[in-house]
């Protein structure tokens, strides 16, 4: 057991890859076997990752389950893993969502099943690796690798303009991450110049002294990489396309996990590496975040395509998370982290439901639906819960995170928060209107006369998410108590730097004028 716990992160990261390897040896034609095996393996992976949760010590901000081996000695690159309260839940979310995504694609994916399940498992490895890496080179490697399976998932199993979307997705994110690479390497070299050691160890790089002007440049560079991923207005246009054309499983993973990397990157890399610059640029980012919130919500209102609507709603929700993170109070950051999980659950569920509708009617246009409640009461009820969770109804998960973000940001950034809060009105408008047009009223489309309710497999697919919505909504302490020490530490660092920054400014006489 102790050895298991010692190397648990590596086991969790590479278990899916090994599973994928195993699947390589299975006959292409045995689709049922492939699907079942992949699903069971991903479930096993989730169960293994639960050990992290069980053995996680909730009273410290230190990294846990640390593993460290030399990798490329010449550059000081190490295989350095470790998690804290934030990455813990993101890892759990990843393993859960991969399982659910695989489970959801039994009917949706009809061709190239083998390739699909293998790609999904490989993708899982990369995502987990990126969440657990504490070495920036290792992180960057996983981060870039992640794009490849996603590119194929959108490009092969997508619909409509799938290739356009896949290419747009990869070019957008690649452009961002290359600029980011530039920033990371500059920090690496700066650290070398200051200490004479080559190291990619994040914890050591935290102590790099970066001159303020350079910090701002680097921050902007790294910001671009993460902002595209989040995606923050105006870097968001790849998201609706990618979401719309991707298969259900792809959309689910994209929304639940991939988007979180942007926020996670800010939390783990950009802000701690360049605290002063992030403090200076906070107003700019908050403006973008608030624009994202309102813009995403307004544009959602007029969407005609279900998936596109949910995608724009993601833009809006992610804006909240950015707002909370950059308000940089313990409460708002707590809320942000919690909301990352919540958004993964709620939006993932929404995409699952949209996928179910699409499987039945082969259309995603809202106008083609209507009156489905009569035919599919279970679907309607569960879909409704997912919608309400996304609306941020109290008692469900979305509310807690959203409220923490807003209440945490309110004091310092009152105006931004007021604008952001108005987003809750628009959210209700577009989601409820969508739900009404899809599920209520009379059936207008003859194709929907034989609309089937959810099958047992589908219910099992969404049930964990629905239960989690209630659980987090009613008892968020399970998450918050583990997240909080990390977040408090994070905020303390920022506060410390803020203090130092103000001293410098005072010395330079910027405030004297």
């Amino acid at each position: 057991m102790s050895i298991f716990l010692k190397y648990i992160l590596s086991i969790i990261i590479f278990f899916p890859l090994l599973s994928a390897l195993l699947l390589v040896f299975i006959n292409k034609k045995a689709e049922g076997l492939l699907r079942n095996l992949a699903t069971i393996l991903s479930l096993a992976e989730f169960v293994i990752s639960l050990f992290l949760f069980i053995y996680f010590k909730s009273n410290t901000y230190q990294f846990q389950f640390v593993e460290r081996f030399s990798w490329i000695r010449e550059f000081g690159a190490t295989y350095f893993l470790g998690i804290d309260g934030v990455s813990l839940f993101l890892i759990l979310l990843t393993t859960l969502m991969t399982f659910i995504a695989l489970l959801s694609s039994y009917k949706y994916i009809k061709e190239h099943v083998k390739e699909f399940v293998i790609l999904m498992l490989v993708l899982e490895t990369f995502m987990l690796g990126a969440f657990a890496s504490l070495d920036i080179l290792l992180f960057y490697l996983f981060w870039e690798f992640m794009l490849i399976p996603m590119y194929y998932i959108i490009g092969i199993w997508g619909t409509g303009r799938k290739v356009y979307s896949a290419v747009k997705f990869i070019l957008y994110t690649l452009a961002g991450s290359l600029i980011m690479l530039f920033g990371l390497i500059t920090i690496f070299i700066l650290h070398y110049n200051q200490t004479g050691n080559f190291t990619f160890n994040l914890l050591k790089l935290y102590h790099t002294n970066i001159p303020l002007t350079l910090q701002i440049i680097l921050f902007i560079a790294i910001f671009l990489g993460f902002a595209v991923k989040i995606p923050l207005f105006p870097f968001h246009t790849w998201l609706p396309d990618a979401h719309t054309e991707a298969p259900t499983a792809g959309s689910v993973i994209l929304a639940s996990v991939l988007l979180k990397f942007g926020i996670y990157g800010f939390f783990r890399f950009a802000i701690p590496l360049m605290p002063e610059a992030s403090i200076i640029l906070t107003p700019v980012i908050l403006v973008l975040a608030v624009i994202s919130i309102i813009y995403g919500a307004l544009v959602s209102i007029v969407q005609k395509d279900l998936k596109r609507l949910v995608a724009f709603s993601s833009v809006s929700h992610m804006g909240f998370i950015v707002l909370g993170l950059f308000a940089m109070t313990a409460v708002s950051v707590d809320g942000s982290v919690l909301q990352m999980i919540n958004h993964g659950i709620s939006t993932g569920a929404l995409f699952l439901f949209v996928g179910m509708l699409y499987e039945r009617s082969h259309t995603r246009l809202i106008a083609d639906f209507g009156g489905l409640t009569k035919k599919a009461p279970i679907l309607a009820a569960l879909f409704m819960i997912a919608v309400l969770s996304s609306v941020g109804l109290p008692g469900l998960n979305g509310f807690v995170g959203e409220f923490l973000i807003l209440v945490g940001s309110f004091k310092q950034y009152t105006v931004f928060t007021i604008f952001a809060t108005s987003g809750i009105i628009f959210t209700a408008v577009y989601l409820l209107w969508m739900f009404q047009r899809v599920m209520f009223q009379d059936i207008t489309n003859k194709n929907n006369e034989n609309f089937k309710d959810m099958t047992l497999r589908e219910i099992i697919t969404v049930l964990p998410l629905i239960l989690l919505m209630f659980f987090i909504g009613l008892y968020p302490d399970v998450l918050l108590s583990r997240i909080n020490p990390t977040v408090v530490h994070f905020v303390n660092i920022i506060e410390h730097n803020k203090y130092a920054y103000n001293l410098i400014k005072a010395k330079m006489g910027l405030f004297n004028a």
């Binding site: 109290p394 928060t417 007021i418």
Partner: protein
Amino acid sequence: MNSKDLIVWLIPFFPLLGAILWGVFGKYFKNYSGYLGSIFIIISFILSVIIFFIVAYGHGFTSILYQWIDASYFKVNVSTTIDRLSVVMLVMVTGISALVHIYSIGYMKDDKGFARYFSYLNLFVFSMIMLIMANNFLLLYVFWEAVGLCSYVLIGFWYEKKSAVDAGKKAFIVNRIGDFGFALGVMLIFITIGTLNYSTVFSDIHTLPPYLITTIALLLLAGAVGKSAQFPLYVWLPDAMEGPTPVSALIHAATMVTAGVYLIARCHIIFSYSPDASNVVLIIGGVTAFIGAFSALTQFDIKRIIAYSTISQIGYMFMAVGIGSYAAGMFHLLSHAIFKGLLFLTAGSVMHGMSGELDLRKMGGLYSKMKITAITFIVGGLALSGIPPFSGFFSKDAILADLFNKGDYLFWIIGVLVAFMTAFYIFRLIFNVFFGESHVDKNLHVHESPKIMTIPLIILACLAGIFGFIGLPPFNHSIFYKFINKDFANSFNFAPAVNNYPWYLLSAISVIAGLGGIYIAYVFYIKKSFDLEKLKSKFKPIYDLSYNKLYVDEIYDFVIVNPMKNFAIFLWRIVDILVIDGAVNGIAQYVSITSSKVRKLQNGMLMSYIVTLTVGVIALLAYYFVR
């Protein structure tokens, strides 16, 4: 957890249990969900009464269930506060709910969504109970939204009807606009005081600068205005009548819509520190009372008339709490809950007998066919009109007397005017529906409702008859005032009474106004001494204004909804697709054009490659020299 706590937590537990049971396993319960649901609520009612006596003969207390959120310095418990204010509300809510549940068994019989209906209804009762019992602002906000959700699903209960779903959505969204303010208020409280617990907030609020207190009060008021359908956010309530009638009775008359008044009463300390905010409450109440009554004058849909009447009556309550007469406001809240619940339920009974007909032009002379309904309806109408000895008389007069005695003559005049209009429109309704010649479709078999529906009506009618006596004038010396005002003892800062006219003088005026309204309705609709059409054309602008509800919906559409929609389309079509995507695709196109030009350099001719190579070598060497 001692027995007191246990009782407190059992009150919301039963409705919640019901909601989950019928919601998840509704298929298996079928009609039992109605009976069992009613029994659950009755249990809650009994428990509430027990708690009522515990508090009445003892003290209020708080009870913590568990810690809900613990994010660094933001800590919130799930906990209750039980005091005089909340027990009174509890008894009222569970009592009316129990009656409505029983009534619904008959009303919703044969409906496909029977179990679903009771699930929603139980969920609503749970939420409402928690809203009342909450002991911090966040929990209040949570259930504030939760009752909004229940209202949403219940208004849109018959989801095939577009109008019903639209109305539900409208209700939810308009409420959200109010809640937007409410949420900001809650946040402001937290960042200024550092906690959301009632007791701390109320004891520390005086340390804040006045402008902050006023801001907080106004933001909270925004929530109250949305939930209680006050001007300018009242537009959702008339549409909300698309829901089943018992729902209208419970949610949109008796309980949920009065939550705004409850909120202000609950936060009376905040409001009493901010005279400006209280004045705003008063003005909103006055304006709403008038608009509601004015719009009710010309409607033909019986439920809509009662809905407008609700708006206008809540306006009264707002006026009361706006001048600091919290006890009077609460008294009117309770008596209004009874008689308005009664009116809605009887209207439902009429609908039931008329197979869903709502237009009063197609009714008439129903008295003989449904006697119980008619008599209970008239009792409700008399209570609404403020005719003694029915409850409305006592509660309305308590408010009017306070208005006059505190010197707010303008609002007193409005109050009397509204009382007059109220009596007119409700008796216009009564005369048109139950008396006069029949316009009922000949094929329609009009019948009295079953006993399970009429018994709650009778109970409510009796209550409407006797309830008022607990507030026997002079109000300041009545049982109710003495009981509830202990909670409002620290509401000060309000102007003391400038006049001390005896209550009977003022009452006489308002009773005369009420009787006048009834008489005019009688003249118009029974004796038909005037040509109504002529009158209508003579006052056409005013009539149209009233009939079209002051065109508020249209104005909102024109000023807010449509511009917003167009703006959204503009953002999507222009900003998103044209500008941003255009820029992105433009860059991509620029790159591909450039590269299609550049790739011509690679022409496959060996010679040109070699020449290029040589030039490169020369350039490198040249660089060596230049360096």
